[in-house]
Amino acid sequence: MIFEPILDLFRGKAITIPPLDGALRANTALDEAAVLAGLPAPDNLVWQDGRLLCSSGAAVLAIEGSTRSQVAEFPAEVTALAAAPDGRLAVASDDGRLREGGIDVPLPGGIGCVTALAYGPDGALWLANGSARHPASGWVVDLMEKGATGSVWRRAPGMGFAREAEGLAWPCGLLPDASGVTVSESWRHRLIRLEGGRVTPVLRHLPGYPARLSPAPGGAWLAVFAPRNRLIEFVLQDVHYRRDMMAEVPREFWVAPALRSGQSFLEPLQCGGIRMMGIHKAWSPSRSYGLVVRLGEGLAPLSSLHSRANGRRHGVTSAIEVDGRLYVAARGGDAVLTLAGDA
C-alpha cells in the first residue's frame, strides 16, 4: 500500500528471490538419477569421438561405459573444455592458459579466467572470461566483491581473439549459433544474447547462478551451479559485514554460495536449516543446490531436474545431451549422472 515505501525507509526493504515454481518446480530427479561415474569434482562435460570427456581437477578423463581413462593432465585445474568439429580438444586451465589439441594458444591480455569455451557452427571459438581480476577458482571472491569485469571473446577461423562484450558479471556459459551467442551471466542471474555487438537479456530472474549451456533438440540445457539465497543477497548488500567477512573468515566458511555444503560445522547455518527431529528439511535455505533446466524455444524454461537442500548432487556445472541421453556433472556431489534426455 501507500505506506510501504515510507516504512521501507525505516525498516529496510524485504529481500526476495524468484520462487522455484512453474517449470522450475522442485523435484528429486538428480538424486534419483543413475551415477555414471563417481569422481572428485567433475566439471565440464564434452562429447568427442563417441566418448564422454570430463574435466576433474587438473585432469581430463574419458568415460566409456564403466571404464574411465585419463586423457590428459595439466599443471593447474582445468576450468573449461570444448571439442572442435575437427576433433581437437580445447582446454583452459586455472593458470590462465588455453591449449588446443595440446598446443598453447596465445591469448590477448586480460584473459586469465576462462570459464567456458564453445565452438560455433562456423568453426569460430567462443571464450568466456569470467573476471579480469580473479582466476576461475576465485569465483566466490569475485561474487562477493560484486565483480562485473567479465568478457566474451570470439576467434573467427584463421583470425585472432576479438572481444565481443565486456563489463559482464561472471559470464560462464556459452551457446553459440549461426548469428551470435547466448551467454549465462551468473552474478546477474540471467542469460543474455550477444548479436552484432548488442547485448539483450533473454532469460532473467533465475533462482540461481547459471553456469554452462549446451545445445538440446529445440532448445538448450542450462546448469545452475548454486542457488540464490536471501541471506546471501542480504550480505551482498551489507557492505561492512561483507568486507569484514572477506578479510577475517576463511573462504570456505563465508556466507556465500557454494558447490557443496554441510561438510563442516564451521560453515554458516540458517534457521531453516536446523535439523528437526532428525530431518533436514528439503525446502530449507541452502548455500548449495543441484539444478539443471531444460530450455525450449526462445530459451524459455520447460522443465527442470533438482537436488534439493537435503540432497547430495549439488553444484551442477555442466549438462550435455547426446543421442537422447543427458549427462550431468555434479561438481559438488562428486558424480557424473546420466538420465533419459526427456526427463
Binding site: 505506506f3 573468515v249 566458511f253 564451521l266 547455518l269 527431529m277
Partner: protein
Amino acid sequence: MTFRERLQAWRYNLVPDHAIGEILQKRWTDNAIPFLALVIVVAGFGSAIPGFFRLVSLQDSTRQLGEFSLVVTGLTVVMLGGGIDLSVGSIFALSAFASVAAFFIFHLPTGLAFLAALATGLIFGAVNGYLIGFLRLRAFLTTLVTFIIGRAIYDILVVSFGAKVQLSDASSDLWDFIGDGTMAGLSVSVVAALVLAVVTHVALTRSRPGWHVLAIGGSRRSAHNAGIRVRRMVFLTYVFSGACSACAGFLIATRLSGAGPGTGQGLEILALTAAVVGGNSLGGGRGSVVKGLMGAVIVLVMTNGLIRLGYGTGTNQMVLGLLLAVAVTIDIRWMKNRHKVLNEVYVAPVYLKLGETQSAAPGSGTPYELNNRLSQADAIGLGELEGPEDVILDRDDHLYCGTRHGEIVRYFAPDYTRSEVFAHVGGFPLGLAFDRAGNLLSCVGAMGLYRIAPDRTVTRLSAETRRSWTSIVDDARLRDPNDLDIAPDGKVYFTDSTKRYDAHDWTLDSIENRATGRLLVYDPATGKTATLLDGYRYTNGVTMAHDNRSVFFCESWACRIHRYWLEGPKVGTAECVIRDMPGYPDNINRASDGTYWMAWLGMRTPSFDLSLRHPGMRRRMARRLPQDEWLFPNINTGGVVKFNDAGEILQTFGDLTGVSHPMVTSMREHKGFLYIGGILNNRIGRYKIEGANPDWTANDAYWGAGS
C-alpha cells in the same frame, strides 16, 4: 578494534532498543495515537482561540460534552459488540421531545419526564436490538431505517406540538437545576457522563456481561461456540445504547427547555467519528470507554473550535469526514500490521566480541577436538520421542525425559523399549532432577518449576521471582526455566535463560544476544524464589559441585561456564571457570569420577561470531529477512565435553555425521552408560563409557545409597 566497531558497540549496547518492542507489546499503546491527537487538538484550539479555557466558556462546552459523551459511550458499547448504531441521533431527539412533552404539555414532574425519555430510548433500542440481535438483520441498514423513521416522527411531532411547548408555563426547580445548575463546579451532564463512563468501564473490563460483549465483537462464532448467548447480548447492547441516548436527550431537553427542528441533527456522524477517532475498532472487540471519551473530546473541541474560529458548517463537516477517514485507515492498517511491526522491531541485537577460541575441528589436536563417537550410541525411543531436552534415571534404572508435547515419558529398564507417559505437565519440560524423596523436579519451559511426585501428582513450585526495577514487560514471570539442580538442604538452584523470548523461541535469543539470563534459587522451606544472578547471556545448565560448596552454571551464547559459590570466602559471587569454548554449552551434570559432563548444543561458526560484532547487520537481517533465512550459530553439530573442578577439558565426544546426535542438550551418566538427549532430536542415545564406574548413579551420589 576499529573506530567504527567501537561506535557500533556503544550504539547497540547502550541504547535500549529492546524497549521499543516491549512497549509495543503493551495494550495501552493502542491509546497512544488518540491521546496524542487529543493533546494536539486541545492545545491547538486552546492557543488559537482566546478565552478557550475560560470558565464560562468551558462550562458551556462541558455541558455539551457531557451529553455527547453519553451518546458516544452507548455507541462504543455497540461497536465493541461488533455492531453499529446510526439511530443515536434520532433517539436522542425523540427522547428530548418525550421529556419536553411530558414536562411542558402534560405538566408531569421532572422525574416522570426523565422516565418518558428513558422509555423512548429503551423502546427504540429494543427495536434495533430485536431486529439485529434476534432476527439478525444487518446492523448498518437496520439502524439507518430506525434513524430515518425516528427522525421523521420527530419532525412531525415538532411541527405539530412545538408551539404548545413554547406557550407552556410549566416550571420546576429540579428541571432548571439539571439544565443549568452545577455540583461542586460540575454540571449534571458531566457528572452523569462520568458516572456512566466509570460504570460501563468497570462492567466491560471486570464483569461477565462486559467480557461477553467483547468476546462477541472479537469473534462472534467463537463466542457462540463458547456458550455465550450471542443474540441476547447483541440485543442488550442496542438497548443500552438507546438508554444512553435517551439520557443525553433528557439532559439537552432540560438545558434548552424545548425541542427544535435541529436537535440531534448529525449527531450520529459526530458520535461515530468520536468513537472511531478514539481508537475503537469498527470491527468490534477492541476498544474501551476511555477511548470513546477521548474521541468525544477531540471531536467536540474540534467542531466547536472551528465554529468559533468562524468556519461554516461545510468546513466543519469536511474536517469531520477527513478525521473519520484518517481514523479508519489508521485503525485498519494498525490492526493488520501491529504484529508485523512488532516482529520487525522486537529483535534488538547487541554487540559482543567473543574471544578467540581453540579449534574443535577433527585433527586440530586441541582438547576440544570433536570425533564421531556419539554416532555409535544405541538409540532409545527412535521415532517415538520428540524433543527430549533432558534425561534422567531413577533408582530402578528407569529412564525419564520431557517431550515437546509437555509430557514426561518413562522408559522401562532394562532394555528401554517399553514406555509410558509418566505425567502430563504441559509446556515444554526441560531440565530434570530427583530430590531426596524421589520426587522428579522439572524446569518446564514457558511455565515454571514443577514437581512430579512418584504417584504422578504434578505440583507447581515456582513460576515467578521478584520483578526487577527497570523492567518494562513484567520479568517476574519465569519465561524460559531451563535446568535445575538440588542442594543437600533441598534448595533448588535453577536458571531462567532469557526474559526476552518464550521457551519455544529460544534460538532467537542467540540472534539478539542480550544478557537477560538469571540464576534463581527456590527455597522449599518458604516456597519463595529469589534471583541470585541476573544479566547473563542465556543461562542454561546447572549442577551442584561434587563437594556441594558451589554451583556450576553455563552461559550458552557467551560459551562460558561459571561457578557460583554457596559458601567459603567467595560466597554469593560468581567466577568464570571456562571461557571462549568453541561450542555453546547446555546442561551440566556430574560424572562418576568426580568430574562433570557438559553438553554442547551447537558450535560457533566464524561467520556468526563475526555477525555478533555487527549488531546493525543482525538487526537489518531480522527486519528484512524471514526468520527461516536468518544466520544462526551452527546448532546442527553438538557434543559432550568432560571437565573438572579446575575447568580443564578432559574429553570430547561428538557426532560429526549429524545423523544420530546433531544437537546435544543433555547427558546423564548412569551405571557406566551415558544417556544423551537433544531438544530437537527424535531419540535418546545410550553410550557405553570406557572405564566408567559401572555402579555409580547420580541418585546415590546426591542422596546416599538409598533403599
